[in-house]
Symmetry: C2
Subunit: 218 residues, 2 copies
């Protein structure tokens, strides 16, 4: 019997992430089902706390069928993390050196808050990974996030230097933007206890705009 060929075109235990082969309709659909289910499960239980059975049930597929599409639990997690990284970097990448400094930063805050609202599961997946010491993401952080943050920190420092925003440590500014926006996704369970009235995001948007405006206005 010849080796089973997995739908992503890799042989058994193959590794390249890039889809070397065009996927069938069924493959496309089921991979999406699995990744969506896995996002749900990993983001609420963390990697070790999630089980393939949970993912299978959530996806409406059998466990062996899931392992037909992915090489294992870890491969699913890694796939999610890889996809996530680009999405996560995007709002910061959009910070425009040519724009008005205050507007740019406030727009960045806005984008991050919108993402926390639109993609809370992704935010929690990321939070879980970092909380646990970034075991599978550390290389990514080093290779992709760090250079981007370095570049944008320099940009913000230049803006401050030129007196176009108030003096500020760019890195701590970025940390505080991440922390305050992602908080509404990551700590949703707590926020919901303390602000029961529906729709916390409009208030959050107003608060954060005010805070960073007061922080950065010269």
């Amino acid at each position: 019997m010849k080796d089973t060929v997995k739908p992503d075109g890799r042989g058994p235990k193959g590794s390249p992430a890039a889809p070397a082969v065009k996927r069938s309709r069924i493959q496309t659909r089921n991979r999406k089902l699995i990744l969506d289910a896995a996002l749900e499960v990993f983001s609420t239980h963390g990697f070790r706390g999630a089980t393939l059975d949970q993912i299978a049930t959530e996806a409406g597929l059998s466990k062996p069928n899931i392992l037909y599409y992915f090489d294992g639990k870890e491969a699913i997690h890694v796939t999610l993390l890889n996809k996530l990284m680009e999405t996560w970097l995007d709002p910061l990448e959009q910070l425009n050196p040519q724009g008005d400094p205050l507007d740019e930063i406030l727009a960045y805050v806005r984008r991050k808050l919108d993402m926390a609202q639109a993609y809370p599961r992704e935010s929690r997946l990321f939070a879980n990974e970092i909380l646990q010491g970034a075991p599978r993401m550390a290389p990514h952080l080093e290779a992709r996030l760090k250079p981007l943050v370095d570049a944008k920190a320099t940009l913000i420092a230049d803006w401050a230097e030129a007196g176009r925003i108030a003096p500020v440590d760019p890195r701590h500014l970025i940390f505080s933007i991440w922390a305050t926006t992602q908080h509404y996704a990551d700590f949703e369970a707590q926020v919901n206890v303390l602000m029961p009235e529906g729709g916390v995001f409009p208030g959050a948007a107003g608060y954060l705009e005010t805070m960073y405006r007061r922080m950065l206005t010269v």
Copy 2:
């Protein structure tokens, strides 16, 4: 044979948290060892990701010996969470209605940041629990945290009303303080990648004081 009596004075599967019986030196020492080991393990892997074997190894005890001191994995986790809640509430409780509003809030920020630095594992234990939907802490949040936050939010609203600090939504202010301070503990793995130079906390303290001063100064 008579029922084995556990060292906390409860019979098998007993429940009261209060130590009904004074503990021996050995009990005190070993319970501490276990709780410390469990804090380490739970805070990095989450509840489901942690194993009794890990905790046992970390504590330097055997697994059955651990189950001699605690009714099970869940009981250890609950014990940690209960202890944690009081520690966690304390800095906010200290917010003094008689003090100068700006000073009081800045001191609160300072206390929270100091806690993130001194007790990062506790911060991550808490973050893990909330991330996963607060399954074992929701009652606590409702019963202890919510009343406190309500009270302090009213206090801050009064300060703003009286023009002693700039107008602000008190609850979002509190959220942002939690988010920005705990970020340095919870996302330590990421922070360390982006700010390799040792000692991020002095810079964080300076940044946060500046931010909340600018935010709240009338």
